[in-house]
Structure formats: C-alpha cells, structure tokens
Symmetry: D2
C-alpha cells in the first residue's frame, strides 16, 4: 500500500529552536530512501506504508537520543486505491486549475 504522509515532529523540553531536530529527521528519511519535500510546517513523504512508518518511528528514536524527553508529532496520512498519485501530481493538479 502506497502512502503520502505529511510529518511534523515537535520535540518538547529542549527549548524553542527545533531546526537541528528537523534536520536529523530529514537525514533519517533520506537514509531510508524515501522521497521527501520539506515545507515551512513539515515534510511530505511518499513511499510504501511499512517503509514510511519505520522511518517515522526511527525519527522519534533519534530525536529522543538527541535529548528530547517528549515528542508531539502530527501526521496527515493519505492512501488511495483508485489510482497512483504522487505528492508532485497533487501540487501540479492544483496549479493547473489555477492556470499557473
């Protein structure tokens, strides 16, 4: 089952500067061979369900190892059986409607 996930990891108990934790998660996702698109409030990820969720678990492990005692993550998780669609397809489809 293919999945498109939007991931936002919020480490708690480590102050307000989070970019090094987000960067560590980006490295985890890349090492897992997953396609990702970073944006201002999270990261789009696409891949097979098991690979994507194994990488997200690894993100939690890594962020805890970096010293965060608590993590609050939010995910949007999309699956569809009617057709194949990438995260880039989704953006393109909206851009077309906007005549861009």
């Amino acid at each position: 089952m293919k999945v498109i996930v939007d991931l936002c990891v919020v480490p708690m108990g480590v102050g307000v500067s989070l970019s090094e934790y987000v960067a560590a998660c980006e490295r985890v996702l890349k090492q897992a061979g997953l396609e990702t698109r970073l944006h201002g409030c999270g990261t789009n990820i696409e891949g097979e369900w098991d690979a994507v969720f194994a990488a997200i678990k690894r993100c939690h492990e890594v962020v805890h190892e970096m010293g965060a005692p608590r993590i609050s993550t939010t995910l949007r998780v999309g699956t569809r059986t009617d057709r194949d669609q990438t995260m880039d397809d989704k953006v393109r489809s909206v851009e077309e409607k906007l005549g861009r």
Copy 2:
C-alpha cells in the same frame, strides 16, 4: 517504545456518513488488544508503537475493503522517555488543575 496516538480516519468518495467506517476501525483496534477512548473527533489509543501502527494500517485496509477509494487520516503521536503516562493520567492531570 510506548505511544499515545489520537486517530481520525476520514474515508472519501463514500458520502458524508462516516460512523460505520469509524465503528469498523474501533473493532480493528479492539481486536488488536489496544486501549482506546472514543471522542467526538477521533480516538485516543495507547500501546506499544509497533502494535498501534500495525492496527492503524489495518484500519486503512479495512476501510478500503469497505469501498472507500481514498482515505485522509490525521494522527497526533506522543512519546516520552522521562516517565510513564497513560491517556487517562493526562486527562486527570488537567482535571486536578481545574479543581474538578
């Protein structure tokens, strides 16, 4: 790694009445032996990371099998290494502060 997840599964392409899909997910979670608390916008789940996410994957499979061609799920995912805390502890802790 223990996790507390807040799950909201939104099947698309099946009209606006979603309770039978939510009920099917509740059954999946119970069959997985997970503790859950249903609320008006989702379900709190607690358990070991792998068991919880295996059950969430099964929810997507079941809802697709019921006829939904597309699913949009949102999750809040909380882990902590500083102490054990159940979802009931979290509610109680706020209720105490409110003097209830």
Copy 3:
C-alpha cells in the same frame, strides 16, 4: 456557521509538563460559554465559528502571557450544511454501530 473543533495546544520552551497550560485553555473556553469535552490528546469544542475561533486566539494569548515563547497548536475543524450534529451525536452514532 456551526463548527466542531478538536483543539490541541502545545506550548514550547516551558519544559514537558503542560497540564497547567491546558487547564488555562479550558478556563478560556468555559468563560467563552462554549461546550467542550476534554480528552487525552485535546479538547472537542462546539459553537458558532466566530466564537470558537475568538476563544482559540485567546488561548494563544493566555499561554504566551503565562510565559511560553512559542506555541504549536493543531486543529481539526468540521462544518456541515446538510444537518445539525453535535459532538455527542457523533460519538453516539459510532457507539450504536458497535451495539453499545
């Protein structure tokens, strides 16, 4: 426009114990006269759009005043034009399907 919102406020830069901030938000919501249901990962709120979102803005102001320099909130926001439905109706509708 009636709305049902699921609100989860995460203050950052104030350590890992969040219940006093959540309790402060509960007080804001009650003072606004809104119906709420607290759960382990957030709070269900129902009311008119403008009243609900004014209260959520007030929650951010109050949590900043309590000392949190940064806040990361997540919301699920549901509106429908086909019929009236309360957050309690939503739970009841699933419970019925489960034969509870």
Copy 4:
C-alpha cells in the same frame, strides 16, 4: 499576533477529486492578500491572526457554496513571541543544518 498556519481542507460528499476545491481556497487566500506556499498535503499561510482566520472561514464558506455538504479541515497553527520568523526562514534554517 503574527501566525503561520498549515491548512488542509478536505471536502466530503463530492467524490475523490479535490483539486478544484483546493484551487478555490488558494484564490480565497490570495484575494485576502496572504502569503502562501502550496505543498503536496496542504498550504502554508503567514499573516496576522485575524486576517488568516477570516480567510480560512471564507474557504469553508466557498467550498460549501461549491456543493460540499461537509468539510473536514486540519490546521497546524504556530505563534511565537520571542522573534519574527517567516515560513521561508523555517525552511532555510533546516536546509542550512543539512548543508544544502
């Protein structure tokens, strides 16, 4: 109060193709004069709290007018009092840590 919001509007009861609804929301946000960045699972928006939330309310009104009887939206809402930060700053800050 400045805010950065990540918005994902999911119309229900209108089938599985959502791009025309997302495009309509993009138009609402642009007409409101807000800075936005579209991504594969939503749209980053930055601006003053009241302007951003007025536009999000307008998105719900427009999507209902287009025929969707029910809408399920998710938001991530970030505010901070310690410093000014744009959504582009947030991406840049992570990219720097990654040596890009």
